[in-house]
């Protein structure tokens, strides 16, 4: 894991002092709300439905046990004993007092954490593959590059008042586990024909009001030009992105309007110019960062078979583990999706348990997934049963990774001031329905994603089944979408037709799965069947 040096610590400490001062100036009236708002947002502080909400950055989703512990402590000390893990691999607190914000940031800084640029029209927290450093299929660990980008983008003087927010994801494997092409910049680390590492830049993807899949802007950026190329991408956007309409201000709209070829031409020209400015970090810095993400000390183990005599454990192991590059190890997924629960929420006690289990079983490391679960990346297979037992006692071992009840849901109208409808109750009812009728276990991989408004924090465009909550004359209404994917086969879901009320949408989801079960060919996932048979049979069943 990356560790701060005195420079990183001094910068984060300075930010704490700065934000304390800004909060004080707001409290004593020297700053108006209009002036304070962009400042608090750049420290992740929102004014939400019930209180202030604080979003804490978890760079590329990686946390140490001590960091998870302080997150739990903050939940108890300043909030109401729980926190919410988000689709951007961050964590949010829902009941924060402005008066406490400085103290919370100081607590975070004591464990090398912060809330810098977790909101606002700036470069946000860099996300990455939650199996980084563990997955067998990666060409390298993407996190040193994500960390380099984190440092480059922190307090960036030119790019802190962009037309709109800016999200970057970095992956390094052919399998996309981070929705890379649905980011403002998606970077895929690849090897060229000469075997050299470089970065493919996909620019202009996103969900939200106008979902778009990012086009490939450059196939291969050499690693010693990575930051310069990113700077060029951002400068073209900062200068020419639309500022006349907030709904058209994301980079995807600029690229859509210019065309990918013209955007590429402008970026290449800016890139040539910036190469001469010599802004790239020394390559030794990249080498320094790589040192932090090496082998944590894996044992030489023989590949082992699990003892499958306990069927509950065997089911969990089948569903909630992922192959590891190191023989004898797996990555284990802690489910934050109990049947009827609130997707992504964890109590402080659960967070402390996950922290301790990470320390005990996973080289003191855990990861936040964009699907709102937690990964313990490096678990010895020999320890897996013991780990599962501890998780099971705490309600954290629901065997449902990528099943229909592993639902992504944004906070929705229960917490969010932008939402049009509640998301969480819909998720709760769907998971309860499929647990009760037993169909859940027959469906296989089925990614269901719910957003409470068009901003799409719940990634509904990328769900095999997506649900979008809308406001229909003051009443919650839910649209059903089918056929999205955030993986390497990225696609955008399509709306089936007229929306449903809260109970109706639960029925509609069941109807859609019935169509799948009636039509699926051997080995097909829901998404495969949908792609083969198209929308018509689903529409017929839903509205016919």
């Amino acid at each position: 894991m990356y560790r701060y040096d005195h420079c990183d610590q001094a910068m984060v400490d300075a930010r704490v002092a700065e934000f304390r001062d800004q909060c004080q100036r707001r409290l004593d009236g020297r700053l108006s709300e209009d002036q304070f708002k962009p400042l608090r947002l750049m420290n992740g502080l929102y004014l939400q439905l019930h209180a202030y909400m604080l979003r804490v950055a978890i760079p590329y989703g990686t946390l140490s046990g001590a960091q998870m512990h302080i997150l739990a402590d903050i939940a108890d000390r300043y909030d109401r004993g729980y926190a919410h893990f988000t689709t951007r691999q961050n964590v949010q607190y829902n009941w924060i007092r402005l008066e406490d914000a400085g103290d919370i940031l100081a607590d975070l800084a004591s464990r090398e954490m912060h809330a810098i640029q977790t909101s606002g029209n700036c470069i946000r927290n860099i996300s990455s593959d939650h199996f980084a450093g563990a997955a067998a299929d990666e060409v390298c660990d993407p996190r040193p590059y994500a960390e380099l980008l984190r440092q480059w983008s922190s307090f960036h003087p030119e790019f802190s008042y962009l037309p709109r927010k800016f999200k970057i994801a970095v992956i390094a494997s052919p399998t996309d586990r981070a929705a890379m092409k649905l980011h403002d910049i998606g970077i895929n680390l690849v090897r060229n024909n000469e075997g050299e590492l470089g970065a493919a830049f996909y620019v202009g993807g996103g969900m939200g009001r106008t979902p778009m899949i990012a086009p490939l802007i450059r196939e291969f950026v050499p690693l010693d030009q990575l930051i310069t190329y990113a700077e060029a991408c951002l400068r073209v956007y900062n200068r020419h992105g639309r500022r006349d309409n907030k709904f058209k201000a994301r980079i995807k709209i600029l690229i859509h309007e210019l065309g990918a070829d013209e955007y590429r031409r402008q970026v290449e020209a800016e890139f040539e110019h910036l190469l001469a400015q010599d802004i790239e970090p020394p390559f030794a810095e990249l080498e320094r960062l790589r040192e932090f993400f090496g082998d944590p000390g894996f044992e030489d183990l023989a590949e082992a078979e699990l003892d499958r005599s306990d069927p509950e454990f065997a089911l969990w192991a089948d569903r909630n583990t992922h192959p590891h590059k190191q023989p004898g190890y797996v990555s284990a997924i802690v489910s934050l999706k109990p049947v009827g629960g609130i997707p992504g929420d964890a109590t402080s006690a659960q967070m402390r348990l996950m922290a301790d289990l990470a320390t005990q079983y996973s080289f003191d490391e855990c990861r936040v997934m964009h699907t709102q679960n937690i990964v313990l990346p490096h678990v010895r297979k020999a320890d897996l049963h013991a780990l599962w037992s501890r998780l099971d006692e705490a309600g954290l071992a629901t065997p449902n990774l990528d099943q229909i009840d592993d639902i992504i849901a944004c906070p929705g109208l229960d917490y969010c001031s932008l939402a049009n409808a509640r998301s969480i109750p819909v998720a709760q009812k769907i998971s309860q329905r499929f647990a009760a009728n037993g169909k859940g276990d027959t469906l296989g991989e089925l990614k269901l994603k719910i957003s409470g408004c068009i901003n799409a924090c719940g990634h509904h465009h990328a769900g095999h089944i997506g649900i979008l909550g809308v406001d229909r004359k003051g009443v919650e209404n839910y649209q059903l979408l089918l056929g999205g994917s955030e993986a390497d086969d990225t696609s955008l879901a399509k709306i089936t037709g007229p929306g449903f009320d809260e109970d109706g949408i639960v029925d509609a989801v069941e109807t859609a799965t019935d169509v799948y079960l009636a039509n699926r060919a051997d080995g097909e996932r829901f998404l495969d069947t949908y792609r083969r048979i198209g929308m018509a049979p689903f529409k017929e069943a839903l509205y016919g």
Binding site: R26, L27, G29, E33, L47, L49, H50, A51, Y52, R80, N94, W95, I96, R97, L98, E99, I342, L413, D414, Y415, S417, A419, R422, I424, P425, Q428, G474, V475, E476
Partner: protein, 99 residues
């Protein structure tokens, strides 16, 4: 009726204009009629409220104030998925009444 709501600047808590001060309880909200903008401007300038805004509301069958929009009704109670954290943790019906 027109009522005025906002958040407490320091704590962020949802508040309602009760005629002479801000209350945490929507039941205390009073009709501000034409005065909404004036009260909001004065109270915000004094930092007794943050981001105040006026909304429509009605008096419900049981005599209590009911904001017209579900968003403000949820603000008045708390998250419907965590009844334990609402202003009426012991009232099993409270969640159903706001929806």
């Amino acid at each position: 009726m027109i009522i005025l709501t906002g958040n407490d600047l320091a704590s962020g808590a949802v508040t309602w204009w009760a005629g002479s001060e801000w209350s945490r309880d929507v039941a205390d909200a009073v009709d501000v009629g034409e005065e909404a903008d004036a009260i909001a401007a004065r109270e915000e300038a004094a930092r007794r409220v943050n981001v105040p805004y006026a909304i429509k509301a009605e008096i419900g069958p049981d005599g209590t104030v009911r904001p017209a929009h579900i968003k403000d009704r949820i603000r008045g109670l708390g998250p419907t998925v965590r009844p334990d954290l609402t202003l009426k943790p012991g009232d099993a019906n409270a969640v159903h009444e706001v929806i």
